[in-house]
Amino acid sequence: MTKTVWKWVVSAIAILLAIMVIYSYVGPEEVDHHSDHALDEYEKAREERSG
């Protein structure tokens, strides 16, 4: 891979990492799949999505 190609790849990885870091600080709390309530919510949302 040439320098030009690497520049694009590194930029994409940097954006992806930045999103992940920002999300870890400002994103909502992780859904607790072990809690019954959260699991219900999660299943409901998934059903909605799959139509």
Binding site: T2, T4, V5, W6, K7, W8, V9, S11, A12, I13, I15, L16, I19, M20, Y23, G27, P28, E30, V31, E41, A45, R46, E48, R49, S50
Partner: protein
């Protein structure tokens, strides 16, 4: 007033489909002074014929720029020598800036350099060198690497980079989409990627950084009141992207944590289309391999003999008349004549003929061919643009850039395709929104996006030009030079092949086989007079007699009068004697009695020899028989032509008996003999009147009218320049197998074009209804669209592997 008509080929950047090329073509044609414009999306070339008094190249480039495209400029750095002050650099700079085709020139006195931005194809560095040289300065290229190849390579790297960039950011979105389905719901996925903000952050760079090229393309097209594939891609992906933002905002207001969004649709479509573009660029690069191979044949340096010393100089510095030294294993730098030495020369790179040709003093050699054995000294006769290789490159480039008739039709179709598709997409949207899923904007949008994406006419626009490029490129490799795409297209419909005899079926190098003299004339004196008279003639039979006389040997005498009687012979006065040498008709016209010769003459003719009567001072004096030998490959080639279902006719000015004897040797059943040069074209026309599509194959000056009249004219490359000029196809190999090869190549190319068009049409016409009824997910439409373009180009590339000459077929077995 006499119009100054000029032809220019400009490299146009930014065209993505046939609609773009149509727009540029129309725009150029509307300009004052432009007579003809031909734009090819595959080669990215615009060929314009214009009146220089009404428009300039600068205006043409400006027009292309206002249409939303760019003309590829080549930036080259030069070393300037001989400058001493600012006035010098100013003069050089002004001179360069004034040259037609130079966009911008800057000269740096301190560094002694000049940076010139110029329009490729209009002006070359050597033109600039000449201009600067006239001012008294020197100009030398700093870097001879091909700028164009570099820029295309760079473009490909950027496309690959963009694809990887888009792929990395799209992957999480695609992941989230995959888990939507019932059968894939078991796949684990971090919640983060379902978050609308995260999806927005991932999709935005793909939409506006990678997708910027589509927005720019669409803007340029719409500004010029037209539409292309960029419009469709920009419309489709924007609809998905902005609708997702709208849904995201709505979801937040309603407190929904994981709304149903379509960010992955736009991102996946863009990623796949960029991937398709990268594949397409790579494959397109391969279709022009033929040109790159030809360019690669050129040598960089030559050894010149100056003041009895061998000096190595750059190829561009070789001039006509220079004496060059070529050692064994070296390439012959330019076209020329051997002065000293003999060798075997491998001309396969030019003629496709694999057996090396023996060359001796006086023989012509072609530049870029390989000197195998001996060391030779040659004189340069053609340099630069005039060499055979340079002309071959120019013919192949023209053929690859020209349009076949079938392409003009598809260009028209793809030109109106985009607006029609947009209308269909809008109609589909309303049908879904009002009737199928009333009030559901998202459900109505999905089939609309799919229609916009699947209907891109890329495959349609690429179908013909890629096949023409690959086909004519492959043909050039075996020594078949088609002068235009239309000839490649028309050759397949040929029904009748008319072959000239001398030089085409036969070697065209006749030799004297018999010399009969009648008392009171003596052989030596008669031969002396006959050869002296024939020395003035250009006819191959005359050369045979002169060569025979040289071998005897006899001394030539002065010829006082000479007159060629076309098709019949010559009239001359040598040493006070009136001479007639030629056919029966010539002697009949002069009322010379030659009964004694009849029996012998008939005998010679039955053997396939050409017998010429000699009369001195109105009295029959003798007979000279000349025979031409048949080319070794002629019989095999004619069998191949017959197997292809073609009618083969031999045409000659020779008498019927000689012609029939030759025809019998090679297996030709139909012969038209005793045809005068001016009647050859009439024979072709008569065949055409019978409704036949006729190809004429010839090599001589006298074949030129027939070559021009025929549906397809094929000139043997070893023949005269006039014949090559008049013909549609040049057969670089002297071998008649090339005729069959040309027809096979044309047939295969046309089949390939039809396959591509069929695929492209079927794909678009099936894809649209499937998308309209909602059975095609937008991302699948994106993948299918990318695949369609790539598959069309890959199918065209198959032509590069076509097996042609019998030797090749034999090898492949």
């Amino acid at each position: 007033m006499l119009e100054k008509i000029e032809n220019v080929t400009l490299s146009v950047v930014g065209m993505t489909c046939a609609a773009c090329s149509q727009r540029v073509e129309k725009g150029l044609k509307r300009m004052n002074g432009v007579h003809e414009a031909n734009v090819n999306v595959t080669t990215e070339k615009a060929t314009v014929t214009f009146n220089t008094e009404e428009t300039t190249i600068k205006q043409l480039t400006e027009k292309i720029e206002t249409l939303g495209y760019d003309v590829r400029m080549v930036k080259a750095d030069f070393q300037v020598t001989g400058m001493t002050c600012a006035a010098c650099s100013n003069r050089v700079e002004k001179k360069l800036n004034r040259l037609e085709g130079v966009q911008k020139a800057a000269v740096n006195l301190a560094l002694e350099t000049a940076t010139v931005e110029y329009v490729e194809g209009v002006i070359s560095p050597s033109d600039m060198k000449d201009a600067v040289h006239k001012l008294g300065f020197g100009l030398k290229e700093k870097d001879d690497s091909s700028n164009q190849v570099d820029s295309k390579q760079k473009e490909m790297e950027v496309q690959l980079g963009k694809f990887l960039f888009a792929a990395i950011l799209t992957f999480p979105l695609f992941w989230s989409m995959v888990t939507h389905f019932e059968f894939t719901s078991f796949i684990w996925m971090p919640d983060m990627f379902m978050n609308p903000w995260v999806q927005l952050a991932l999709a935005t760079p793909v939409q506006f950084i990678v997708g910027a090229q589509f927005y720019v393309g669409a803007y340029k097209a719409l500004r010029n009141k037209s539409a292309n594939m960029d419009v469709l891609v920009a419309l489709g992906t924007s609809a998905a992207y902005f609708y997702s933002i709208y849904l995201g905002i709505e979801a937040m207001e309603q407190g929904i944590v994981m709304p149903d969004l379509y960010f992955e649709t736009s991102a996946v479509i863009i990623t796949l289309i960029v991937l398709g573009k990268w594949f397409e660029a790579r494959a397109k690069g391969k279709t022009s391999q033929a040109i790159q191979k030809l360019l690669g044949l050129q040598v960089k340096t030559a050894t010149v003999i100056r003041n009895n010393e061998a000096v190595t100089i750059a190829l561009e510095e070789v001039k006509v008349g220079d004496r060059l030294l070529v050692k064994p294993g070296e390439k012959i730098p330019v076209d020329g004549v051997i002065l000293d030495g003999h060798s075997a020369v491998d001309e396969s790179m030019i003629t496709g003929e694999s057996i090396p040709v023996d060359k001796k003093s006086g023989d012509i050699v072609i530049g870029s061919t390989m000197n195998k054995h001996g060391s030779i000294t040659m004189e340069a006769t053609k340099v630069g643009k005039d060499t055979a290789l340079a002309q071959i490159i120019s013919i192949v480039e023209n053929a690859q850039g020209s349009k076949a008739n079938i392409q003009r039709m598809t260009d028209k179709v793809s030109g109106i395709f985009v607006p029609v598709v947009v209308v269909i997409a809008i109609m589909s949207f309303f049908v879904w929104y009002l009737f199928v899923t009333p009030g559901d904007l998202g459900a109505a949008l999905i089939p609309t996006i799919s229609i916009l994406v699947i209907a891109c006419p890329c495959a349609l626009g690429l179908a013909t030009p890629t096949s023409i490029m690959a086909g004519s490129g492959r043909a050039a490799e075996v020594g078949l030079l088609f002068k235009g795409g239309e000839h490649l297209e028309n050759t397949q419909s040929i029904q009748t092949v008319v072959l000239d005899k001398t030089g085409t079926v036969t070697k065209g190098e006749p030799m004297v086989t018999d010399f009969v003299y009648e008392a009171p004339f003596e052989k030596e004196l008669l031969l002396q007079m006959v050869s002296s008279a024939e020395f003035k003639s250009e006819h191959p039979l005359a050369h045979a007699i002169v060569n025979y006389a040289k071998e005897e040997p006899v001394q030539l005498m002065e010829t006082e009068q000479f007159e060629a009687v076309p098709g019949h012979g010559i009239r001359a006065k040598v040493n006070g004697y009136d001479l007639l040498i030629g056919t029966r008709k010539l002697l009949d016209d002069e009322k010379v009695e030659y009964n004694k010769a009849q029996v012998k003459m008939t005998e010679f003719e039955k053997e396939g020899k050409t017998a010429m009567l000699i009369a001195v001072n109105g009295q029959y004096a003798g007979l000279v028989a000349v025979a031409d030998t048949v080319k070794e490959t002629s019989k095999q080639a004619i069998t191949r032509l017959k197997k292809l279902g073609l009618e083969v006719i031999m045409l000659t000015g020779d008498n019927k008996r000689t012609a029939e004897a030759i025809a019998k040797q090679v297996g030709i059943d139909q012969v038209v003999a005793e045809v005068l040069p001016e009647e050859k074209s009439a024979v072709v026309e008569n065949l055409q009147k019978e409704g036949k599509k006729v190809a004429m194959v010839g090599d001589g000056l006298n074949d030129a009218p027939a070559l021009a009249v025929a549906d397809i004219g094929m000139a043997i490359g070893t023949g005269t320049d006039v014949a090559i000029e008049a013909a549609d196809i040049t057969l670089m190999r002297g071998d008649l197998n090339s005729v069959a090869d040309a027809i096979i190549m044309s047939r295969k190319t046309m089949i390939n074009i039809k396959q591509n068009l069929f695929f492209a049409f079927v794909y678009n016409s099936l894809g649209i209804p499937i998308a309209a009824v909602g059975l095609l997910a937008p991302w699948v439409a994106g993948a299918a669209m990318a695949f369609s373009s790539v598959s069309v180009v890959l199918n065209a590339l198959r032509l590069q592997k076509t097996k042609l000459s019998p030797n090749e077929m034999e090898r492949s077995k």
